[in-house]
Symmetry: D2
Subunit: 356 residues, 4 copies
């Protein structure tokens, strides 16, 4: 199946391929009367945009968004918001090898096994370029949840983790790695340079938190807030793991070690810990909602890898071309966008059933 | 919102509370003509059933399932299958404390924040007792995917991991921990006994694999196979993390280290590694589908924890009563069921779009 | 496909066959805190109940509803509400003829063509007995929209129409035909008696209106209020047509003749006509929402009709047994229920997007 | 709520306003490998296109469709198909009156009541211009169901009906009214001319049939084939009624008069009548699927009608501008498109559950 819509009442549908004329998103169910212009969306796209440093793919895309519907005189009308981004730098090259030979770790073989036919240019629909449409839709979602501040960062690259004692949110936008630890950023510069020069790639862990989510958002049991966040993040290209709060670390704890005690606070309870990542029973508790996402290293590497071709014959393939040595880095604005999209949907779902 | 249906074309809806008269599931979209009787479902419920060893809750529930519709003369008719399990051992006890005081880490506060009102007896709807309905529905799902063998086990309890060099699938059902490593099982017996005697609890990691999934199942981009599995697993009580294939470990690798090379095989490609966990681009590759799930330690512990009551006043609460010292153990049949339910849905989704 | 769930945020799923042990509905997404007991649901079921007069089927079913979940201490909790009605009077009879021979006009042949297999006893899943579950769910919906009063009646039986000049809402519950025109009721008594004695059946038109729907409910474009009402009503057994407002009569009018002029009123506009049936652009206008539903005569008649059997051979079949001579009559509480269910859903959908 | 997606597995989402830069549809779930180019879609848009005769609005729109994704080398890839139609002739005019004063019978007041804010230019989202996107999506649906031939026509204008004894399918495309009866077409020419010159409007009934639908399509109970068709048609602008088969006429019949007897045929049963319109129990029977749709006269008339303005004050409004005197005529390709879209979805849904 192809299923390109996400959300329950605040929904978005994306379309487009890496090397088609354009890609886009249709956002449906957005509340009316919200201020929204292209200038509200563009900065988030710029954050994700390729080609801004030597640490990302050198594909040059302006990623200029156009609003084609759903906004009138600078405000949302409540009708579907169509967002379009034209593809500009689909470099003409020879795709005959990738058309014929499956790149292991990419979706090539799986798409052919499923559909029997695929747009192989630049990965077609399975390209991470599609995430530009998510980021655009995410900017609309942010307008729906002004009470929430979402902030993502890279926590580790290739096993080299930041030191949370040096966590400085101001640093995040001061280096090309969305790294909140200046020392780690310096190390990562060398690491990514080496990776890039070796024609290799490397994995990363992205962390993201949402501050200001009130207690009560979540749709148990099968659209729990954490369940929706997991689905949203796992749908991002190259993601292989999702944790809420302490995640896998919690599995090594005792109930005492994992407790989040409460005491009376000014507005509702004050929590003395947040192992749970701000979610209990699939519903937000009012604490910061925290998650962590594992990005694998991209399979686009210069070292030849054994594979097969469309006819089933043995082959080898190496990926030259333009690519991100660490796809997790540009994953930060994408994870943020998915978190915004889930929270906007959950806010409206909560309002549907419980009012307020 | 309350959202108690899961699936796209093979769908199930669960209902019921811990201490209500019954709980159940309605399975809709099941193909017609499949052999199905209560005897096909009961063994899976028995596997999850409480009270079978001293290592689980002592609540005694027969968990007998009744098929109320959708099956005629031992075969599915294609109409909704209603499954009901009566609650038998809702021990009459005094719930006044839990009615009034929030148990930290449980859903008590979040449910009240959301709904303003809750059935507090035994956790009500947020009780893991609901997973019995999932397991029953999962048994129907298994009938839809006879080509797939699903097998789960406990990989770690409280940080004590099995040794995969001693992995023996025969062991899994020979100990009360679904442990494939006989030595680890022996250690865990002592560990769980100590945990139980201390009135404490402990986390666990459950692993699960599906063998026989053909290449091509998955519904990119927002119902990718891995995304649906993540949502399914994260919706289980106490789950805080999900990994596909190598998961977070992949984030520490290079592209070379994470490669899954292919060579020609008898039926389609032969893969030389499975870092990806059998999924690429959200679509199955024909390799075993592998995932890992983190269960937190239950918050039901004897040690008093600071909390607040419904009026916002400071309080302390300790959980006496009956509970599992390690909820991850009985999580195994639940993870298996969710995997079966996702795969059945994806099989039918694939058939819808691509035939075959 | 089998698709037994209706609604977007206020959803219900029904299950059960005519001659199975029970049938029921699971209502999900209901707001919390609403007063609800079995006594709130039973009267609506009693209104639909068979065997209450000689003008309906003589099957004797108490249709006693049990609430199995989602209600605690007399109030909804926001979790799924499971409603069950046991089948009592599944008269043991010889089903060998209907098992083998298709009843024309019934779903027998279509179900076999689709599923290859069916529960033939009393029509199985295609029996109108399923509508009991809708009526039970509809009673929950009514609790969600206390501001709305829904009222249905029979407008015509077999081409004999009521005279709206004699429309008296008090009459509706004073005769077994839900007829608001006492003179028509008298004529219908003779008509139905004759039909029944002849072993024949006859069609009917049911009208229904909802008063108190505020302006603004509706989800354009593909879940417009009128579109959802049409889907809801057309899903009822034996329904072949749906009209909103003037319906087909509007197709014979000019724009002047069909105008609904407005003038200022105390609360919003005062409308000088209601050709539109209270809906414009798929959104309620604040006027009464009005619709009309055509029920065909049931195909269960004593006159033998040419048909084929499961082996494709020529046959004849006559329906003896118990049946309603005019299924439209008991359709009234079902249409009312479907209208309540749609309006409850639309109220919550409106609140999701637009607040209030 | 705003809900702009239709379908279960073959889904489309439309976007765009009458006077925005463009409108479009995203079609998701389309099977891969189908031949599809813009030339396959354009003829259907041309059939619906305004300005082709003096009997329709004089707005001149080329309605040229562009495929922006989901098609590669002339074949569908199974990924979302984005279709865009630019608006060209959004005549600049003074919208101050319609911005301020509600046109009775149009969606103006209802949209403001719902959203508090609207794009008033040409009706904004509530304009029938949106149906161009449906027709484009419908052309994709036709590619999914090559076994089905769909044919619509106008059956009545303003109460003047065709004579089915003169029904000639060849005539349908030979007059500007999609009229299969040459004599009626001649009468309608005079009728529409008079209506147009009077600045009035007139209603119409559109009929549509699908030949070649095999027995077995339909998703009982809440996505029955007839229920989905009713929802699809009732979502079209100006539609106020839908009938399947004999529709309301069946309500005046007896069971004998409404019978569709069967006898053995070459391939499955041969039906001796088709009162049911090819659907029983919500499932196709293999007969032609037939429906009828009532279009009201557009409320855009020259005669001033009493109304109110945004401030609630009394006003009058007359619609000058460009409009169709009989919107039902151009409704024919739209009804055909909706029928194709429903049938494509039902074909895939059937395949999901029942294979084949």
């Amino acid at each position: 199946m192809s299923f390109n819509t996400f959300g329950r009442v605040f929904r978005f549908t994306t379309w487009g391929e890496s090397h088609g004329p354009a890609l886009g998103a249709v956002v449906d169910g957005c509340p009316p009367g919200l201020a929204l212009t292209e200038a509200d969306i563009q900065p988030w796209l710029d954050k994700r945009r390729p080609g801004t440093s030597r640490f990302t793919t050198q594909r040059r895309e302006p990623d200029s968004v156009r609003i084609l519907s759903g906004v009138f005189e600078g405000r949302t009308t409540g009708t579907p918001i169509s967002l379009m981004i034209e593809n500009v730098d689909q470099r003409s090259k020879d795709y005959s090898e990738v058309a014929k030979t499956y790149r292991p770790g990419h979706a090539d073989y799986a798409y052919d096994a499923k559909y029997g036919f695929r747009d192989y240019r630049g990965g077609g629909r399975s390209s991470a370029r599609e995430t530009a449409a998510r980021v655009a839709a995410g900017a609309v979602a942010r307008a729906v949840i002004p009470e929430v501040k979402i902030r993502g960062w890279v926590e580790a690259i290739g096993g080299d983790r930041i030191d949370y004692d040096r966590f400085d949110p101001q640093q995040i936008d001061r280096n090309p790695f969305f790294c909140p630890d200046a020392e780690a950023a310096a190390r990562w510069e060398a690491l990514i340079d080496a990776t890039r020069k070796a024609g290799s790639s490397i994995g990363a862990v992205v962390a993201c938190e949402a501050i200001g989510v009130p207690a009560g958002w979540g749709a148990p049991l099968y659209a729990k807030l954490d369940s929706e966040l997991a689905a949203a993040c796992m749908s991002i290209n190259a993601v292989k793991g999702v944790e809420i709060g302490d995640g896998f670390a919690a599995a090594a704890l005792t109930g005492e070690g994992n407790a989040d005690p409460m005491r009376p606070g000014a507005d509702g309870p004050q929590f003395l810990a947040n192992h749970a990542g701000g979610i209990a029973g699939g519903i937000s508790t009012g604490q910061p909602v925290r998650l962590r996402v594992a990005f694998k290293p991209t399979s686009s590497i210069l070292t030849p890898v054994a594979t097969i071709d469309r006819d089933g014959a043995a082959a080898e393939i190496a990926t030259k071309g333009r690519h991100d040595p660490c796809v997790g880095i540009r994953g930060v604005p994408v994870v943020e966008a998915m978190m915004a999209l889930v929270l906007a949907d959950q806010k409206l779902l909560h309002r549907a059933q419980c009012g307020g």
